[in-house]
Symmetry: C2
Subunit: 311 residues, 2 copies
């Protein structure tokens, strides 16, 4: 009989990976409000913003204000409702970003390294080796601050530039990250190419080889496979799933483009499987309704079950 | 390490479970053409129509003509392209339906029995016991004809009238079907309520208890869980998956209503997992394009993977 984990943690990436792709400008206050609503719903790990150059991602130019505002509302939530232990995370693109993130008071900094040279150069304009040195630098900068450096391996399941990614290529990047002391690593299916068998086999191999690393998984819902990939990922030992409230993300200009897997779908499925999520689905729905208002569009078609008679 | 089956068979239910819910009238010739296109794409098990009273399902009033027409085009396909072994299946609602199906020349007759009394009465207007006696009668009628009687257990994973269905209730119906000699049994998530863990546990139990039965699984894509349910179903030993080309089915009047899981998504996922399907995806896409033309609407949003940079 298969074993399932007793609990799974959601790492919410909507405020960062979701909003950075939105065509509408979202105000700093709205971003802070989103983080508050997520924390109220029970989310305990939130990727809040991105410390990158404002020219590269103008939507994230208010990263400092988002973090300080989020700190403020989280302090109120703690005082008023006893909400504790919300990890505020932010992406950083280089040394300058890490310094800004540390100064802003994040709990965790995410550094992205691709599994393919081609994607790393396209995304970060440097080699994998250079990216890894930046991670090492970030670890040194964070030393003694209590801030965690998280590694994210982009295109871990396939690369839009290169095609197939061999497990050995992912292992090499994971090994290098683990080698500089990274204990939290996200395997990201950046291009929406993962399949459930591949997820199981890669994650199983990495969990065995790096028992000290907490792996997280990040899928886009290409061809409806995200939840299937999550199921085999947790079968292989992962206990952290990244998702985006309302499926925020993807490309809003492409109808039907695969966004991040939706937090509410992940929570619904895992809770129905008897896996503890500590998230209040009704509050999550409130958060989605609020988001739909400020974005001015429906985020997700709700799909009710069908009671169609003969099968 | 998990084991995966070398191959999985698709039982295509679009011509029956899909078209019966279409608001547009589909001509008999179009139904036959759909079956032909599916067979050309490599589909080897097709639920072609339903032998029920035309007042109950007017869309299926031409069941005899569909079967005889399908026989004709399959004979031509065999002669011209060597296509062999396509199983033509049809649903029957009662003794009269079984007789009509046998006279029409089907290879397989599907009889539906619900796992809950409430759904069986709503769907078939009789008790589970009465339905089971009809199955027994069907087996007797088919004796010596070479026609297979398939059992389908509706609401096997949850009932819209009753809520939870205990595994013992499903086992009871499966046991009764096996007891009258049924060797092909579909477990149908009629209401779109199944979750991957439940699927694994129920299927695992039934496959162990009834090793002589070939189980098939039938899911609706409620909340994006269909593919995840299929993955754990095949992990538990199922080698037949029911699906509907273009995701036909569900309720076309409810936007976003969960239709049957789409054949092309099942094939795409399983082929990417290295599981043999013997289906030509390009021909399947041709079939979907043709269907979209005759139905006058897009069947499925295509969801391309996203090459979004940072995760």
């Amino acid at each position: 009989m298969l074993q399932w984990p007793a609990g799974v943690l959601v790492r919410e990436v909507g405020p960062r990976d979701g909003l950075q792709n939105e065509p509408r400008t979202i105000s700093t206050d709205q971003k802070i409000r989103l983080i508050e609503l997520l924390a109220r719903a029970g989310v305990r790990a939130i990727e809040a913003t991105s410390f990158v150059h404002p020219r590269a991602v103008p939507q994230m130019a208010d990263a400092e204000e988002v973090i300080s505002g989020a700190r403020r509302v989280l302090a109120v939530l703690e005082a008023q409702e006893g909400v504790q232990g919300v990890v505020l995370s932010a992406l950083a693109g280089n040394r300058r970003g890490v310094e800004r993130a540390l100064a802003a008071g994040v709990d965790e900094v995410v550094m992205v390294v691709s599994a393919s040279e081609e994607h790393n150069r396209a995304n970060m304009r440097m080699s994998i080796g250079q990216s890894l040195r930046q991670v090492e630098e970030a670890v040194a900068l964070a030393m003694g601050t209590g801030v965690v450096i998280r590694g994210a391996v982009a295109v871990a399941f396939g690369c839009p530039y290169r095609g197939e990614i061999r497990p050995a290529e992912v292992r090499e990047v994971v090994g290098a990250l683990a080698g500089v002391g990274i204990k939290e690593i996200t395997l990201a299916d950046t291009a929406g190419l993962a399949n459930p068998r591949q997820v199981y086999e890669l994650v199983n191999m990495l969990c065995r080889e790096y028992p000290a690393v907490n792996f997280a998984l990040h899928f886009h819902d290409a061809r409806g496979m995200a939840l299937a990939n999550i199921v085999t990922g947790i079968q292989a030992g992962v206990k952290i799933i990244e998702s985006s409230v309302g499926g925020l993300g993807g490309c809003p200009f492409i109808p039907g483009a695969a966004g991040n897997v939706a937090t509410e779908d992940v929570v619904y499925m895992l809770q129905r499987m008897g896996i503890e999520m500590a998230i209040d689905r009704h509050r999550l729905e409130d958060c989605i309704s609020w988001l739909e208002e400020i974005l001015g569009r429906k985020l997700r078609e709700r799909k009710p079950g069908c009671t169609n008679s003969t099968g």
